[in-house]
C-alpha cells in the first residue's frame, strides 16, 4: 500500500470534518478499503477511522413501525438481531449470505453499500482499460470476459454490476440511507444509491466526499420476504445473480410485491413493471411468470451473458416462492 496518515474520529462531527479534507477516506470495517489501497484503486493521503465513535451502532425500533440500524453495526450483528430476523428476513438472509463470518464481524452496514464492483478488469493490479479506474480509458469487459456482468442499465463505457447483497434487500425494502455532512445531511433511497453508467461510468455511488452514512431506515415489517443467492460454490462467493422479494399477502393473493435483482446492473434492479403486474395475482398462477417476464423487456445481454437473463428471471420466480413461504 502507498503510505497514508491516520486519525481516529471521536464524534460524528469530528468524522465529518476530517473526512471532508482532500485526499481523505473513511475507514470503518476496512474490508474493502484495505484492498482498494493494495490494488491501487484509491490512494488516499489520509484515512479517518470512525469505528470508535459511539452511538452509531445498534438496531432500534422506530415509532412508525420501522427500524433504524446504526451505520457502524457489524453485518453479523445486524443480521442476527431478533428484530431484523423476524421482521426483515430478506435482509437477514442477504447479510448472512455475504462474504464470510470473519468479514461480517468486521464489515458494517453503513460501509457495505460502498463496496465497489468485482469486475476482474476493475480489480486488476495491472493497467487495464477501465473507466472506473482511469476515466476515459475504455471498458475492457465490454468485449472481454463478461459472463458475470450486467444485463440491465449498462453502456459501452461500463458493464459491471454492483456485487453486494444487503443493498439488494435494502432496495426491495425501500430503505433509506441517512447521511450527515457539514451542510446537514440527506435521506438517500437505497435503490438509487449507486450511479448508473449512463449517468457517469466512472462513479460508484452518489455519496459525496465528506458525507457519512450514519444509519439506515427501513419502513414497516416485511416478514414475508426472502433472499436468494445463486453462485457456483455454496458460500463465500459473490452472486452470479440474486433476488430479494418482499410480499404483502392476503391469503394467497399478492397485495403488494417488491422485487429487486442483484448482480444484474450497477445498482439493485427493482422490477417495477413486474411489481405492478403481480398485484392481485394468486400465488402459483401462471400470471406470476408473465409478470416477471414483463420486468425483463429492457434486459440486454452482453457477448457472454445471455444466460443471465433466464437465470435472473428464474431467480425472481424462485424468490417469490420463497418469500411466500417465509
Amino acid at each position: 500500500m502507498r503510505d497514508f496518515s491516520y486519525a481516529q474520529a471521536t464524534s460524528r462531527a469530528d468524522a465529518i470534518a476530517l473526512a471532508g479534507l482532500p485526499d481523505t477516506m473513511v475507514l470503518a470495517g476496512g474490508t474493502e478499503l484495505l484492498n482498494w489501497t493494495r490494488i491501487g484503486v484509491v490512494e488516499p493521503a489520509r484515512i479517518v477511522d470512525i469505528t470508535r465513535i459511539s452511538g452509531m451502532e445498534g438496531v432500534e425500533a422506530l415509532p412508525n413501525g420501522g427500524v433504524r440500524i446504526g451505520a457502524l453495526t457489524k453485518l453479523n450483528d445486524a443480521a442476527q438481531h431478533p428484530l431484523i430476523r423476524a421482521s426483515y428476513p430478506v435482509l437477514s438472509e442477504a447479510i448472512l449470505k455475504s462474504a464470510s463470518a470473519q468479514i461480517r464481524n468486521l464489515a458494517t452496514v453503513g460501509g457495505n453499500p460502498l463496496q465497489r464492483v468485482r469486475c476482474p478488469y476493475f480489480r486488476a493490479d495491472e493497467p487495464t482499460p477501465c473507466n472506473k479506474r482511469v476515466p476515459g480509458s475504455g471498458c475492457a469487459a465490454l468485449h472481454g470476459f463478461n459472463e458475470k456482468h450486467a444485463i440491465f442499465g449498462w453502456t459501452k463505457d461500463c458493464v459491471a454490476v454492483h456485487p453486494a447483497d444487503p443493498p439488494v434487500a435494502l432496495a426491495a425494502l425501500d430503505a433509506v440511507f441517512i447521511t450527515e455532512d457539514k451542510n446537514g445531511g440527506r435521506r438517500l433511497a437505497a435503490r438509487k444509491f449507486n450511479v448508473l453508467p449512463s449517468e457517469d461510468p466512472t462513479a460508484h455511488s452518489v455519496l459525496r466526499h465528506g458525507e457519512l452514512i450514519v444509519g439506515i431506515e427501513i419502513g414497516g415489517p416485511a416478514p414475508k420476504s426472502a433472499y436468494l443467492k445463486i453462485r457456483e460454490r455454496e458460500s463465500y462467493e459473490y452472486a452470479t445473480v440474486s433476488a430479494a422479494v418482499a410480499l404483502d399477502l392476503d391469503g394467497d393473493v399478492i397485495r403488494r410485491a417488491r422485487v429487486a435483482l442483484g448482480s444484474v446492473a450497477m445498482q439493485p434492479w427493482r422490477l417495477d413493471e413486474t411489481e405492478r403486474r403481480l398485484v392481485g395475482q394468486k400465488l402459483g398462477s401462471p400470471a406470476i411468470e408473465a409478470a416477471v417476464a414483463a420486468g425483463f423487456v429492457d434486459a440486454r445481454p452482453l457477448s457472454s451473458n445471455t444466460y443471465k437473463i433466464k437465470l435472473a428471471r428464474n431467480a425472481a420466480l424462485r424468490a417469490i416462492e420463497l418469500a411466500a413461504r417465509a
Partner: protein, 732 residues
C-alpha cells in the same frame, strides 16, 4: 500387533495445531531484507527502461535490482535438465519478456510495507511485441529440444489400427472434451529466504523436493552441491506448484548475493498466477468404437495442451487412453500450442487427472449408446494386463474395488436419473480412478538409541501427506517400537537423499529406504546380541530369541555402543532416479468413484450430495491419513468439475483474475459429510518391499468425469467443457 495399517494420529499434529510448525516465510533471519518482485505488465517484448528513482526515495527501501545488477547464470546450469528446473528462461538475465507476470525488477526494503509500496511505483517502460494467445495458436508437435517435459512419456502411440477399428465399429462414441487452465493455489504462496555465508548458501524454501533446489542453486552459481543447504520442514501445500525450481527462487538467491544480506521473498497470491505454472488448458479428442456387446474395438485419444514459448510442457492426458481399458487397437497422441503464457507444470494428478476426465466421459457416452450400465461396460473391458505393453500389472484389484464401491454406494439399486427432490434433479455417475505410479531412488538413515527410541533421517519434505507419521510406523514395525518412540528428522538437504514428494511416490520410495535402514539396524542389533538376524523378533524395545529376551539398552550397553546407525536405500533398475514401476510390472493405482449430484436447472446450481471412492492402491500404512488424502483428492476433483478455471485474457495477454475471489475453489459448505472412502486389502509385491503404492493423486482422478456423467444422468445434458457452471446447466 502390526504398526502398519494402524490409524494413528499424526506425529506433526502438535506443531501444526499450535502454530509452531515453520513454513518458509516464517523462518525470519537476522538482518534480512524483504523482497517484492515487480512483474511485467506486457505479455511479450522487452524492458526498455526502468526508472526506480521514486521507489528508492521511499524511506526503508534499500535497493531496486534490475537486469544489469544480476549475476550471470553459470554455465553449470546447462547440465541441469528441465525439469526439475522449471524453465531455462531465467528472468532478468536479459531484457526479454516471454509472458505477463514475469519478474523484471526486485525491490528490497527494510520493511515489507516499504518494499510493497516501492514496487508499485517502479516505472517500467516496455517495447511491446505482438504476443501469441496460446489457446488459439497453431497446433504443433512438441520439440524435444524445448525442455525435457516432452520426453517423460510417449508423444505418439499406436497399437493395431485404431482408426480403422473405430470406423468399422457398430457403436461409436466420443467427442472433444475441454478443460481450462487451473492454478494449484496451495494455501501457502511460494516463499523463500536466501542466506549467504561466504560462498555457502542456505535457503528456507517452500518445496516438494529439496535436492532439486540444491542442485539447481549450485549450478546457477557454479558451486558444488555441498555449498548449498535447503531447509524445508513444512511446505504449505504443493500440488505440483512447488515440485520444480521456479525463477523466483533463483532471483531471491541472486538478490541475496548481490546485496550481501539475507533476502526474504514471499510471492503474493497474484504472483502465484503469473510466476508459477498452472495445469494447462487442454482439448481432448476421444473416439471409442465398440461391438454391440460392449467390447472396445478401438480407442483414440489425442490431446492438445497450451504451453509457453520457452519450453514445450506436455500434459500427457492421453495416457489413460492406453492404460485404462483392454483393447487391441489404440492410438494416442500429444501436441501443443505455444503462446506467451506462464509455462504450465504438473498439478495434482498430472496426465491421469485430465485424461480420466475425457476418457471417463467418453466411456459414459458409449455406455449410453449401448444402453448398458457404465459399470458393466468397464467390467467388460477390464484390463487384466497393461494394454500399452501387454505386461502384467504390479498389482490390480480393481474388480474388487468396483464391487465394494458399488455395494457401499448402492449403485445397482440407484433410482432412475432425473428423479426429483424438490427443485433438485438427482443424478448418479461413475468413473474410473487411476494414476501412474512413480518410484524414485531414495535413501534414509536410522539411528537406534539405547533408550529404545529411534530417529529416521532423510531429506524428504512434508506437504501434508504424512511421512513423519508413516515412516515411524514402518520403522517401528521392523524394530518393534511404538511409532511414538520413533522421530522423523527431515526437511534438510544435509540429510540423506530422498526422492521428491510428487508422483505419489514418497511412501513407496522413501518408505522402502526407511524399511531397509531399519532392517539393517535390526540385523546389527542381532549381531551384537549374538543371535542370527533371521531368528529374532523385536517388540516393546526388546530383542527376542526363542524364550530369551534382552532390552536394546542392555545389548548396546554391553557392547559399549551409544547408538546403532544404518543407511537404507531404494534403488531402481539401472540406477535410474525415477521410473513408473518395475520394467516387468507396470505400476498403477486404481479405483472407482461414484457420485450423487443434485442439479437445479432453473437456477443453474450443481451440488454434490454424496460420493463413494474405493481404491486398489496397495498396502495402506495408515488408514486415517490415507482417508484424508482421498477426501482431499475427491474435493480437488469436485473443484475441477464444478468451478475452477483460470482464464487467459486474449486482449490483454494475461490471467484475468489473479486472486481467490475471481477463481472459486471449493469451500467447506460445498462438501457433504457423506464422503465414503474405502480401500481394497492389497499387497503389491512387485513395486517395492513395503507392498504399498501411492495415493496422493489417485483420489483426484475420475471425479470430473463421474460428475459430468451424473449431470447427464440427472438432466440429459452432456457437458464436455469444464467447469460445469450455471450457464451450462440452465434449462433452455
Amino acid at each position: 500387533m502390526s504398526n502398519l495399517g494402524q490409524p494413528i494420529t499424526r506425529a506433526d499434529g502438535a506443531v501444526k495445531v499450535t502454530g509452531i510448525a515453520r513454513y518458509a516465510g516464517d523462518q525470519n533471519q537476522p538482518g534480512q531484507l524483504h523482497a517484492v518482485l515487480v512483474a511485467s505488465t506486457v505479455p511479450a517484448g522487452c524492458v526498455s527502461a526502468i526508472d526506480a528513482r521514486a521507489a528508492l526515495a521511499i524511506p526503508g527501501v534499500s535497493r531496486v535490482l534490475v537486469a544489469v545488477d544480476m549475476p550471470r547464470v553459470h554455465a553449470d546450469l546447462d547440465k541441469i535438465s528441465v525439469p526439475p528446473l522449471a524453465t531455462r528462461f531465467i528472468p532478468m538475465q536479459s531484457h526479454n519478456i516471454v509472458h505477463e507476470g514475469q519478474p523484471v525488477a526486485i525491490v528490497l526494503g527494510e520493511s515489507l510495507e516499504a518494499a510493497e509500496a516501492a514496487a508499485t511505483i517502479v516505472r517500467v517502460t516496455y517495447e511491446r511485441a505482438a504476443f501469441i494467445v496460446p489457446e488459439t495458436a497453431a497446433v504443433v508437435s512438441a520439440d524435444p529440444k524445448k525442455g525435457s517435459y516432452s520426453m517423460s512419456n510417449a508423444l505418439e502411440f499406436n497399437k493395431g489400427n485404431a482408426l480403422a477399428a473405430i470406423a468399422a465399429a457398430p457403436v461409436k462414441a466420443g467427442a472433444a472434451y475441454t478443460q481450462p487452465s487451473r492454478h494449484a493455489n496451495p494455501m501457502e504462496p511460494s516463499a523463500i529466504i536466501a542466506v549467504w555465508k561466504g560462498d555457502r548458501l542456505t535457503v528456507y524454501d517452500a518445496v516438494q523436493h529439496l535436492p532439486a533446489v540444491q542442485n539447481v542453486m549450485a549450478a546457477v552459481f557454479g558451486l558444488p552441491a555441498t555449498s548449498i543447504r535447503v531447509v524445508s520442514p513444512h511446505t504449505g501445500g504443493g500440488f505440483g506448484a512447488k515440485a520444480f525450481v521456479w525463477p523466483h527462487e533463483i532471483l531471491a538467491a541472486m538478490a541475496a548475493k548481490v546485496v550481501r544480506r539475507p533476502v526474504k521473498l514471499v510471492l503474493t497470491r497474484q504472483q502465484m498466477y503469473g510466476m508459477v505454472g498452472p495445469q494447462p488448458q487442454m482439448v481432448h479428442d476421444v473416439h471409442l468404437g465398440a461391438g454391440a456387446d460392449g467390447k472396445l474395438l478401438g480407442v483414440g485419444h489425442a490431446t492438445t495442451n497450451i504451453t509457453g514459448v520457452t519450453e514445450d510442457y506436455v500434459e500427457f492426458g492421453a495416457v489413460p487412453g492406453r492404460t485404462f481399458y483392454a483393447c487391441d487397437n489404440i492410438t494416442t497422441s500429444q501436441r501443443v500450442r505455444r503462446g506467451n503464457v506462464t509455462l504450465p507444470t504438473f498439478m495434482r494428478s498430472p496426465w491421469d487427472g485430465p485424461g480420466s476426465w475425457a476418457l471417463g466421459s467418453a466411456m459414459d457416452e458409449l455406455a449410453r449408446a449401448l444402453d448398458m450400465d457404465p459399470l458393466d461396460l468397464r467390467l467388460i473391458n477390464y484390463a487384466e494386463t497393461d494394454p500399452e505393453s501387454g505386461k502384467p500389472w504390479s498389482s490390480k484389484k480393481l474388480r474388487e474395488a468396483y464391487e465394494e464401491g458399488a455395494r457401499r454406494f448402492g449403485w445397482r439399486t440407484r433410482p432412475k436419473g432425473g428423479t426429483r427432490d424438490g427443485h433438485w434433479r438427482i443424478g448418479y455417475g461413475v468413473a474410473d480412478c487411476s494414476q501412474g505410479q512413480a518410484r524414485f531412488h531414495s535413501t534414509a538413515r536410522i539411528r537406534l538409541k539405547a533408550d529404545g527410541t529411534a530417529q529416521i533421517e532423510s531429506s524428504f519434505c512434508d506437504i501434508g501427506t504424512g511421512p513423519a507419521t508413516i515412516f515411524p510406523q514402518i520403522a517401528g514395525e521392523v524394530l518393534g517400537l511404538d511409532p511414538k518412540r520413533v522421530t522423523a528428522v527431515a526437511g534438510d538437504s544435509d540429510l540423506p537423499y530422498s526422492g521428491p514428494t510428487y508422483g505419489s511416490g514418497t511412501t513407496i520410495s522413501t518408505g522402502a529406504a526407511v524399511q531397509q535402514a531399519a532392517q539393517r539396524v535390526r540385523a546389527k542389533l542381532a549381531r551384537l546380541a549374538g543371535w542370527p538376524a533371521e531368528e529374532i523378533t523385536m517388540r516393546d524395545g526388546q530383542i527376542i530369541h526363542g524364550d530369551k529376551s534382552r532390552t536394546i539398552r542392555e545389548v548396546l550397553g554391553e557392547a559399549g555402543v551409544a547408538e546403532l546407525v544404518s543407511d537404507g536405500t531404494f534403488d531402481l533398475p539401472g540406477g535410474a532416479p525415477v521410473d513408473m514401476g518395475p520394467p516387468e510390472f507396470p505400476a498403477r493405482t486404481f479405483g472407482v468413484i461414484f457420485v450423487e449430484v443434485g442439479v437445479d436447472q432453473e437456477l443453474g446450481l450443481l451440488r454434490l450430495r454424496r460420493a463413494t471412492g474405493v481404491y486398489s492402491a496397495g498396502r495402506i500404512i495408515n488408514p486415517r491419513t490415507a482417508r484424508s488424502q482421498m477426501i482431499g483428492g475427491i474435493v480437488w476433483g469436485w473443484g475441477m468439475a464444478a468451478m475452477e478455471a483460470s482464464h487467459f485474457e486474449p486482449a490483454l495477454g494475461r490471467w484475468l483474475a489473479k486472486d481467490l475471489a475471481g477463481v472459486p475453489l471449493p469451500v467447506n459448505a460445498d462438501i457433504p459429510p457423506e464422503i465414503d472412502v474405502g480401500f481394497v486389502d492389497e499387497f503389491d509385491a512387485n513395486s517395492g518391499p513395503l507392498g504399498a503404492k501411492g495415493i496422493g493423486e489417485l483420489g483426484a482422478t475420475g471425479v470430473a468425469a463421474a460428475v459430468a456423467n451424473a449431470v447427464y444422468d440427472a438432466t440429459g445434458l452432456r457437458i464436455r467443457d469444464l467447469p460445469i457452471t450455471p450457464e451450462k446447466i440452465l434449462a433452455v
